[in-house]
Amino acid sequence: MTACDPELWSIVTLTLRVTLVALVIASVLGIPLGVWLGLARFPGKRLFVALVYTGMSLPPVVVGLLVYMLLSRSGPLAFLEWLFTPQAMIVAQTVIALPLIAGLVMGAVAAVPGDLVGQIRSLGATPWQVRWAVLREARVGVLFALLVAFGRIVSEVGAAYMVGGNIQGHTRVLSTAIMMETGKGDFALALALGGWLMVLALSVNLAAMRLQGRSL
């Protein structure tokens, strides 16, 4: 496999596609959940927060197992026929990223001073306008949450392998390819693929830092 190898490009583009789609879905669900948890007071909140925190350290192989069971022929979602497809990998990575994003966004929102939230309300903001304004104030923490989630799922191998199957040209991503090449003893190729993974992560982090710099 060389730098111009079409197989390499298919692995890199699939890695990016799966990771970014999972990140977008997890963000759409996780950011509002995190904002709500950061601002709301309700009975049982501590238990709910504890569950989110537990989800942040959910082992990827456990997620892989659960998604596998859901999508397998005997599972309740078998009709989707997603097992060993990129969609299954997206589902698994979304499940891994969602509690991470929700938990870190919750922390960022809860760190916005309570008096500032009161000031926003006192200026006449509706509950939705309050949430939006607080989210803007917590944007550095939100960006950090997205970066952490991206880093976690772009390099994730257990769930991707279990529900994707590492099928050449179909579900093979950088992390599963590295694992396979290491198993075959081709350490040079595994290292080169690892280098690509690092380049992807670095590019996304640099772009995020640029955004962060603009917003500060």
Binding site: G118, Q119, S122, L123, Q129, A133
Partner: protein, 242 residues
């Protein structure tokens, strides 16, 4: 004289944990008056203002606003007639101008640019309009917070010691602008201050709070010239009463 009530509080108490930080059998705030709340730090002034602003739910008792019993959180239509300026300036990320426009923007006010600029000019802040709010001094930030509150032309303006950390010229500016707004629009103002000279200058009535209790409420002239309560007399003479 039959005066219209803005607020009426009946048997209102606020508890933080086991501690009762505010206990008011009755308090009336008349529409269009400037009621100055005086008292030492920790006397309950800020809690009372937060209660009037709808940010603090009473632990018990009732709050009436224009004859309607208030539920907390307040309906947005009521919330939008009242605004509170906190003791420390709480500015949002963005420019000074975007901060002053904030309340108008969330109301969909098409005239927000002109209105914000007008109040910024009135407060000698126009030159800072495009400066990030994080890049101005503490005193300037406090003026921006006052400007932001006045920009939305509230029916009730609640001020929580907004001039505490300002130099005398800026204190005079805040007083001048608030009093001019009050005169022009008949704004109801509840102004917490521990500066009784300010209360004397600005207030139509003055109320003394000690340990969360209302000690005395009177017309400003009477409050300072003929205090009824010994603690009021001691307070205005600058003696320790807490």
């Amino acid at each position: 004289m039959n005066r219209t009530l803005a607020y009426r509080l009946e048997n209102v108490a606020v508890q933080h944990g086991w501690r009762e930080v505010l206990h008011l059998p009755t308090l009336e705030v008349f529409a269009g008056e400037i009621l100055c709340l005086v008292g030492p730090p920790g006397s309950g002034k800020s809690t009372l203002l937060r209660l009037l602003a709808g940010l603090q739910r009473p632990s018990r008792g009732q709050v009436w606003f224009h004859g309607e019993l208030l539920n907390y959180p307040m309906p947005i239509t009521v919330q939008r007639t009242i605004t509170l300026v906190f003791q420390r300036p709480l500015l949002l990320t963005g420019t000074v101008r975007s901060n002053v426009e904030y309340g108008l923007r969330i109301r969909g006010d098409a005239q927000r640019h002109q209105k914000a600029l007008a109040i910024l000019e009135r407060m000698h802040l126009a030159h800072l309009a495009d400066r990030p709010a994080s890049a101005i001094s503490g005193g300037e930030a406090q003026l921006v917070a006052v400007a932001r509150a006045l920009a939305i032309a509230p029916e009730v303006l609640l001020l929580d010691e907004p001039t505490n950390n300002l130099d005398p010229a800026r204190v005079a500016l805040v007083e001048e602008v608030v009093l001019a707004d009050h005169k022009l629009r008949g704004t109801t103002v509840v102004w917490a201050t521990h500066n009784h000279f300010q209360a004397r200058r600005a207030g139509s009535r003055v109320a003394l709070l000690l340990d969360g209790r209302l000690i005395e409420t009177a017309a400003a002239t009477d409050f300072f010239a003929m205090p009824r309560d010994a603690r009021t007399a001691a307070f205005i003479q600058g003696q320790m009463v807490y």
